[in-house]
C-alpha cells in the first residue's frame, strides 16, 4: 500500500482507496489534545490504520485536526445539515415524502415549516419543488428534512421554489457553485439578472426573467465543469453573444 507523504510538494494530494495515512502526519499538532476528526472518504480499518476509501483530494483543517477526502460523485448520500432540493412524491397526514436523489425518499414533517401549527400549515402537492435542510441522516434510516432554521425557527430561504427550472449536476460541481468566488456564476451575473438555489444533492434551480435566459444559464453551468478560467469566460461570452 502506497503510504502518503505529508510533504507539501504538490498542491493536490490525490488518494485512492487503500492508501494509508501516515500516523505521524495525522498528529502533527500535539496541542490539539490528540483528537482526530475523520470526514468523508476516510475510514479506520481492522488493522488500526486510517485508510482512504474514495478517490479524491486529501484535505486537512488544523482546527480540530480534521481530515477528509474531497471527491466527486453523482449519487447523493444524505448528510446532516446540508441544504438540498427535493421533489414532493407523496403525502400523508404527518409527512411529505420527498425525492432527494438518494437511495430512498426522505421524510419532511408537515410541521417542519416556519410558523406551522396543527391548524395553520403550508400545503404542498405532489410535484412541488422544495429547498430544505437535512435535519437527520443515518445510513440505516430514511433521511429527515425540515424547511426552517432549527435554532431560530425562521424559514431562512427554505421552502417551496416556484417557477424556474431544475438541472442535475455532479455533487462536486454543486459544491463548487456554492463558493462565493465561483467564476461561471460571476460571469453570468455580469450579463443576466437571475436567481438560483443550489442543493448539495446536485440539483440546481434557476429562475430568470425569460425562459431563454434560464436555459442559457443552465447550459453555462453544465458546460463549466471541466473548463479552466480562460475557457470558461470564452464559453459564457459566446453563449451571451448568441442570444
Amino acid at each position: 500500500m502506497a503510504s502518503i507523504t505529508t510533504e507539501e510538494e504538490s498542491k493536490l494530494l490525490i488518494v485512492l482507496p487503500g492508501d494509508q495515512l501516515p500516523e505521524s502526519g495525522l498528529m502533527e499538532d500535539s496541542s490539539a489534545a490528540h483528537r482526530l476528526t475523520l470526514g468523508p472518504g476516510l475510514a479506520p480499518m481492522d488493522d488500526d490504520s486510517i485508510t482512504a476509501v474514495k478517490a479524491g483530494i486529501l484535505k486537512h483543517n488544523a482546527v480540530g485536526n480534521r481530515w477528509w477526502v474531497e471527491s466527486n460523485q453523482r449519487r447523493y448520500v444524505a448528510a446532516q445539515g446540508e441544504s438540498i432540493i427535493g421533489v414532493v412524491t407523496g403525502k400523508s397526514a404527518e409527512h411529505y415524502k420527498v425525492d432527494i436523489g438518494a437511495s430512498q425518499p426522505a421524510l419532511l414533517g408537515v410541521l417542519a415549516f416556519e410558523g406551522a401549527t396543527k391548524r395553520n400549515k403550508p400545503n404542498h402537492n405532489i410535484g412541488d419543488l422544495l429547498y430544505c435542510r437535512v435535519s437527520m441522516a443515518n445510513k440505516d434510516m430514511e433521511a429527515e428534512l425540515e424547511c426552517m432554521n432549527p435554532t431560530t425557527g425562521k424559514a431562512d430561504g427554505f421552502g417551496e421554489l416556484k417557477g424556474g427550472f431544475v438541472i442535475k449536476i455532479s455533487l462536486g460541481l454543486a459544491r463548487r457553485l456554492l463558493d462565493p468566488k465561483n467564476l461561471v456564476l460571476r460571469l453570468l451575473g455580469q450579463h443576466i439578472p437571475f436567481e438560483m438555489a443550489v442543493g448539495t444533492n446536485g440539483k440546481v434551480w434557476v429562475n430568470s426573467a425569460s425562459t431563454q435566459h434560464t436555459i442559457l444559464i443552465c447550459n453555462a453551468i453544465r458546460n463549466s465543469e471541466y473548463l479552466n478560467s480562460g475557457e470558461c469566460s470564452a464559453m459564457v461570452k459566446s453563449l451571451v453573444e448568441k442570444m
Binding site: M1, L16, G18, A55, Y226
Partner: protein
Amino acid sequence: MSRLDRSRTSAHQLRPFFSSQNLLNRADGSAQFDFGGSSVMCSVVGPAEVKLRDEKLDKATIEVVVRPLVGLPGIKDKAREQAIRETLEPLILSGLHPRTSIQIVIQTMKDDGSILATAFNATILALLDAGIPLKSILGAVTCIVDSETNQILLDPTTQELANAKSTHTFVFDNKSSITSTDNKQQEDKESVDVATLYSDSTGLFSEEEYFECAQICYKAAQAIHGFIRTAVQKKLEKEQQQIDS
C-alpha cells in the same frame, strides 16, 4: 523471441492501455478500459433503491451484469458475472450503505483477448468514478503459457490465446506493495499470495509455471495500479483547475 502479436517485441510487454471515466450521462459512474484491441465499458448505478426481494439489512446488494460483444449472455458471461461479483464483494465497503443496491453492468466493446482482465480494470475505474467506498483498488492481468515454446506471454491477443497451453488471469489489490518493498530481494510466492484477489487458470500447467505466471502478472499489475492512479489524478486536476487559477 518474437510474438504472434507483431506490435510487441517482448513476452512480458502489455499492450498500450487506455481509459476514460464518466462517459455515460445517466449512470452514477462509468468507465472504459482498453488493452490494445480489447475494450470494455462498465457502468455503475448506486447506492440506489433496492428491490425488496434482494434487500440485505446490513449491507448493500451488489449485482453484476456481463453483456457479451454480440447476442445474448450465455454460460460464459454468467461465470464471469460470478467471478467479478465474488471478487468485488469483499472489496466494496457495502456495510456503509445498507439496504441499497449497487448495480454494475459490464459491456464488451471489442474483443481481442484478455477480456476478463480488461473487464476487472474497467469495473474498478467505474466504481472509483461512482464514488463507491472501497477497501482498495485492483489491477488485473492475463497471461498464457505458449504450447510450442513454453514461454509465458503477458496480455495475450485472441490469436495468441489459440496457441495457449494454459491461460491464467490474476487480480491483485494495491495493499501488497508494503510486503514487496520491505523485502525487495525475496519477492517470493508468499508476497504474491497476500495480494491475490482472484485467480483463474485453465489448461495444463505445473506448479512452477503457475507461480511464475503469478509473479510476472503481479509485476504487471503494479503498472496498472499506477495507470489507474494517473487516470484518477488527471480527472481530478481537470475538475479543480478553476479553483487553482
